[in-house]
Symmetry: C2
Subunit: 295 residues, 2 copies
């Protein structure tokens, strides 16, 4: 058995119960017996355990706001120190987010009773890491949080916390894992892209395709739970895929003076803004704060 | 009623039957009464009709290989001229592919009997355009083809061609549309990315994130139906997101001498290749041919 394996484990369908963490590890579903995250910054994270170990976890069934590893008191689940994005399995979660790797979820009996097995541990299917950010947790220390969504084939139905959820029989060519970007109001992003003539607001690149130009509308403050950013033009930047990737994964930010900076604070230049498009300073601040770049 | 609208039409659940194209147009499900594609290169395509109008169409239920518009004899469905990617609704299909817009599918009584209604027209849910390419069709003329996959919430279950498929009740924050990239064997792409130290083989860019470097493993000949490219290192390039986007959408290609060229044939420079990584000339040729760049 390899140390890491992405996707479904044969003969371990969704709903399989394990008496102990060790049994789940032996089966290959969650290959570490203590840590919450199986993985590292080189290969990614292939599975997590959700078992009430962190006070800031939020379990919504088919969506999980998962707290990164480190800095907590295992006996109480309370944070007693800041977390680092590069320590423990946290970097693995980012790599899985970047690549759209599927992450197995094992729920344990100490988790939210609404979605957790009464005893033992249950394999609950494949999730993807949608995004990550930093904030100050309940106990006042810096934590990193990962939003996970249940992957299809399971994601179609609302999550049902039953013992016998049927195993998804996915077509192998489609269900190994998908990296998804959620599309919202196309009018808003189309307006911003057209306003900049499809030129990136960071590097001025225009990608030229056979049928026209290509750019991406990047939401500064993310839409949906838990950030609930608005789908309005002041919350959208016109970016090339490279700078969209960097922006969404915390590899660059925009400072108070609308200068673009890399992760080490080096200035890449001004954020290009055209008359008629107000970029929200408040949402840029939200983005900075949530990637640990201060106010 | 606007000319274009993306996503589900209220009160028109999956499985709704329309007596005529006009009735489907009035309902807003497919807003044109003659053309197969509703859309254009500015807004994208919001719906298509699948009704046996093109001899090269392949209907697999939850997957459709759809022929672009133009060049056919409407009475026989046979191609009588080459198609252009920029004419009719074809450019709209590309825009929907680029942005992950959901495309409504209306099936008519002249389509493949396995998946089509015996009479009239049926709304069969939301699909996404996965990719497009060019080839010589059955009648010897150049056609453009679009592969569509059924979107969740419907995509989880195999497509059931019944009259009363239940309407998907999607969570609004997730089901409007997703642009997905399929993830395969992570070992193969990870090897290629590491081999190039995460530097793009076109522009040498390395994207630096807080937890490491970022690049994408781009399959030259696409995996899965109908291209069936292999998941092997000679079929994978290490690219930045910008050049991955351009490569996948036909905005650049690699010539016989491993020079990278844009859509107009201008040379961008050599494809950077490192010792130990053989890039398949055959697969690069396949990519060129399928985006209409000749042999």
């Amino acid at each position: 058995v390899a140390d890491y394996f992405f996707g479904e484990i044969p003969h371990n369908p969704v709903g399989t119960i394990y008496a102990s963490r060790k049994e789940a590890a032996t089966a290959g579903v969650h290959r570490v017996t203590v840590q919450g995250i199986s993985g590292n910054g080189t290969v990614g994270a292939d599975s997590i355990s959700v078992n009430g170990g962190y006070e800031d976890d939020i379990d919504l069934g088919d969506e999980i706001i998962y707290t990164g590893a480190g800095g907590n008191d295992p006996s109480t689940g309370k944070q007693i120190a800041d977390q680092s994005l590069t320590q423990h399995g946290n970097a693995g979660m980012v790599v899985s987010e970047e690549n759209g790797y599927p992450v197995r979820v094992l729920r344990g009996f100490k988790g939210d009773p609404k979605f957790s097995p009464p005893t033992g541990y249950r394999y609950d299917g494949l999730y993807r890491v949608n995004r990550h950010w930093s904030e100050i947790g309940k106990s006042g220390f810096r934590i990193w949080r990962f939003q996970l969504f249940r992957l299809s084939p399971q994601e179609a139905a609302p999550y049902i916390p039953a013992e016998n959820v049927p195993a998804g029989q996915a077509r192998p060519e489609r269900a190994v894992g998908v990296a998804s970007r959620i599309i919202r109001n196309t009018d808003v992003t189309n307006w911003v892209k057209a306003h900049y003539d499809y030129a990136c607001q960071v590097c001025d690149t225009q990608l030229v395709l056979p049928v026209g130009m290509y750019a991406e509308g990047a939401h500064i403050r993310a839409l949906g739970r838990p950030h609930d950013g608005p789908d309005t033009v002041d919350n959208v930047l016109c970016l090339c895929p490279n700078h969209h990737t960097l922006f969404d994964l915390g590899g660059l930010y925009v400072d108070r003076d609308f200068r673009v900076r890399d992760k080490d604070g080096a200035t890449l230049g001004p954020l290009y803004r055209r008359s008629g498009h107000t970029v929200s300073a408040e949402h840029l601040q939200y983005h900075r704060t949530h990637f640990g770049y201060g106010e």
